[in-house]
């Protein structure tokens, strides 16, 4: 059996090219059906995310109907109504062991644009489940995708490559906010300004259950717009100190050239807060909050530089984990290929043994007919001697075949066996 992957990813193609080839969840089913109608004996799984579109196929080595890169390109072009020449150079191909290694790396998030991002594992799992529900998977794709999910979990458990966040909002929330607050559904989030990063941070906070959002902006219309999007409240700029007194978590991203909250203005509302914990994400450049506020009791003030430093540290940590993660992928790929090859050689070994056993039994029958005076003990001894001889004769070639099974180049020897021993399917 051979596994092949044809597709494009962020390494080989532009965002536009990937966008042209992408499949929506609703399109995956019909696409797999279309692929099956072209290649009825081929197993297929289609993985389509914003960073990659990959078609995994598995078929018999001697199956002339196995799709080539050209055929997959034609299929993709036809499905999306494109010219094959337009997309062919965006596609790349991995076959056999390379395809398996590639899938394992993808599932373990080692091939992602942001290495270690956790979504890809769920996307691989979803693609496999969708293909299974469309009945386009088979023994090999089942084996290779289940192995890929296992490898991804192993990489996640044995390395910290996907533990560390590398984007500023995710670091702010995962590494710091979650260590201050146990829950977010009862916390007041105050957004000052309406920057893109503030909105991205809100997205992470909303995932953790944050509901109570207040937006303050010099531009009241923009504040109202953002507040509406997050089902929050918009306050007038003049109410900044009131909002700050009630807030648990502040995300500030204004374009002000001077701090909008000075130490004095914070001291003025400090008593109203009863020293309740306050987490401030000052994502503005220059800073919106006087750095001295960070020294106040129970105030945890983080600037963009602090978060950037944390991101860099995490990125370096991930880089340190990379060789360990790749070693796991290599080890699992070798193991998987050995298992796959063992399956291929297993049937040959079985047939060789069966053929020799048959001949051995025929010869023994003939011999026992010629020597009718032999008692049971003598017959047993002769039978055991024949078996020993057969095993000794077969041992070296079968051992060589088993050894070859661990290597990718075992096909030649399997073929030689089939010819030498006249094995037929």
């Amino acid at each position: 059996m051979t596994v092949r992957m044809v597709g494009c990813s962020h390494h080989t193609s532009s965002t536009e090219a990937r966008g042209r080839l992408a499949f929506s969840p609703g399109e995956v089913g019909p696409a797999l059906e279309s692929l099956r109608s072209r290649f009825p004996t081929t197993e297929a799984v289609l993985l389509s995310t914003c960073n990659r579109v990959e078609v995994y196929t598995a078929f018999d080595d001697d199956d002339a109907a196995g799709p080539t890169q050209q055929q997959v390109a034609e299929f993709l072009a036809e499905f999306h109504g494109l010219d094959v020449g337009e997309i062919f150079h965006d596609l790349f191909e991995r076959t056999g062991e390379e395809a398996v290694r590639h899938l394992f790396s993808v599932a373990a998030s080692l091939d992602s644009m942001v290495v270690g991002e956790p979504q890809i594992l769920a996307q691989v799992k979803q693609a496999y489940e969708l293909a299974t529900s469309c009945r386009s998977t088979g023994p090999v794709t089942n084996q290779v995708f289940q192995a890929a999910l296992r490898v991804a979990k192993r990489v996640a458990n044995e390395t910290s490559i996907n533990e560390k966040r590398v984007s500023i909002p995710s670091v702010a929330v995962a590494d710091f906010a979650r260590n201050i607050f146990e829950r977010f559904d009862d916390k007041q989030v105050l957004v000052i300004g309406a920057g893109e990063m503030a909105e991205e941070t809100l997205r992470y906070l909303a995932d953790l259950g944050a509901r109570d959002v207040t937006v303050i902006n010099r531009n009241a219309a923009r504040a109202a717009e953002l507040a509406e999007r997050w089902q929050g409240k918009a306050y007038a700029w003049a109410d900044l100190s009131v909002a700050l007194a009630g807030a648990d978590l502040v995300v500030s991203t204004t374009g002000a050239s001077e701090p909008i909250v000075t130490l004095e203005s914070y001291r003025a509302i400090e008593a109203e807060r009863y020293q309740r914990g306050l987490f401030i994400l000052d994502l503005a450049v220059p800073r919106d909050f006087d750095p001295a506020i960070g020294d106040c009791l129970n105030v945890y003030l983080y600037s963009l530089d602090d978060l950037r430093a944390a991101c860099d540290r995490n990125r370096k940590d991930r880089e340190r984990e990379w060789p360990k993660a790749m070693a796991i992928v290599e080890q699992e790929t070798a193991r998987f290929m050995a298992e796959l090859n063992h399956r291929a050689t297993g049937s040959v070994i079985k047939r060789v043994k069966q053929g020799w056993k048959q001949q051995q039994d025929d010869e023994l029958r003939r011999l026992f007919n010629k020597l009718p005076d032999l008692d049971d003990r003598e017959r047993g001894e002769i039978r055991a001697a024949f078996e020993r001889l057969t095993n000794k004769l077969l041992h070296p070639p079968l051992e060589s075949l088993r050894d070859e099974a661990h290597q990718a180049s075992h096909h030649g020897l399997v073929e030689a066996f089939q010819r030498l021993f006249k094995l037929k399917d």
């Binding site: 590494d175 710091f176 260590n179 945890y300």
Partner: protein, 304 residues
């Protein structure tokens, strides 16, 4: 077979569990969690059998001596540790709780008196009540101390913008503050009840003219001082809102632990009648449960 269980069995198990906890700081492991539960659980089992065997062979309650009291306090702490570890397997509770467990076992092993408290029929119930409340209060103070240390460490890390250290995952500050407040309130309540029951017990002894403790005994006023501190700390946390947040509440629980240590230490350092009689410390000990001496001793029963 139970007679063969010694201090070494469970303290070695807890020590191995602590070493496993320390390894969190250095490397990841898929089997460490299971090994931790195995060693801590195995230690707890041996600990339980040891206490049970002592209670059975001495025909008394589990809290019948100072040694038993410390061992039971350590036992409760291990139960708390196992509970937290099962529900928060990634959090390094053991680094903070297991040294305290080993400390209590160490006090039981080397300092606490193994001789049973005297038993009069009238005092037996009040002695048990006194001991149980003091035990629960002490465990709450010790848990509060561990949680307080975690809160101080977490607050320091967040204030200094340090990234979460691999292997030293701590609960959120909010959770730690909540646990600190609960530990303070619970310990004040339990130690208050323990103190009151101790007074009742002493009054009974006084009436029966047996083994009464002078009201000026250092153990009484040091316990009173501990209780006064806990009541003040609880009141402070209850009525002064800023005391419920951040490092303040952690300092309260750490200070409570210091008062507890002073209070418990006073019975060895100051001339007290509370734990006199029979043998003095350090005379038991790594011998199997069947060989533990069981002579009578003076003292008001129940707690140490």
């Amino acid at each position: 077979m139970l007679a063969g269980i010694s201090f070494t069995c469970f303290s070695a198990s807890y020590l191995v569990a602590l070493v496993l906890e320390v390894t969190r700081l250095f490397f990841r492991s898929g089997v460490r969690g299971a090994l931790l539960l195995l060693f801590a659980g195995g230690g707890l089992l041996a600990h339980t059998l040891y206490l049970g065997h002592r209670a059975f062979t001495q025909q008394g309650a589990i809290l019948s001596s100072e040694l038993d009291w410390y061992l039971l306090a350590a036992w409760c702490l291990v139960v708390v540790y196992l509970y937290l570890t099962v529900y928060h397997p990634q959090t390094a509770f053991g680094l903070f709780v297991l040294p305290l467990v080993l400390g209590l076992v160490g006090v039981a092993r080397f300092i606490a008196d193994p001789v049973p408290f005297p038993r009069t029929e009238a005092a037996q119930v009040w002695g048990a009540i006194h001991g149980v409340f003091l035990l629960l209060g002490t465990v709450a103070v010790v848990v509060g101390f561990a949680v307080g240390l975690m809160a101080l460490l977490q607050a320091y890390r967040l204030k200094h913008k340090l990234p979460p250290q691999r292997g030293l995952r701590l609960p959120s500050l909010e959770w730690l503050e909540l646990m600190n407040i609960r530990a303070t309130k619970f310990s004040a309540l339990m130690l208050g009840l323990g103190f009151v029951s101790g007074i009742v017990l002493n009054l009974i002894h006084d009436r029966l003219h047996v083994e009464e403790l002078p009201w000026t005994d250092p153990i009484i006023w040091s316990s009173g001082l501990l209780l006064a501190w806990l009541v003040a700390a609880t009141g402070f946390a209850q009525f002064y809102r800023p005391a419920r947040a951040g490092r303040k509440v952690a300092y309260l629980t750490v200070a409570s632990f210091v008062f507890l240590v002073l209070s418990l230490g006073s019975q060895w350092l100051l001339p007290t009648h509370h734990s006199l009689g029979g043998q003095r410390p350090g005379q038991l000990h790594d011998q199997p449960t069947s060989n533990v001496p069981g002579a009578t001793r003076a003292g008001p029963g129940g707690g140490p």
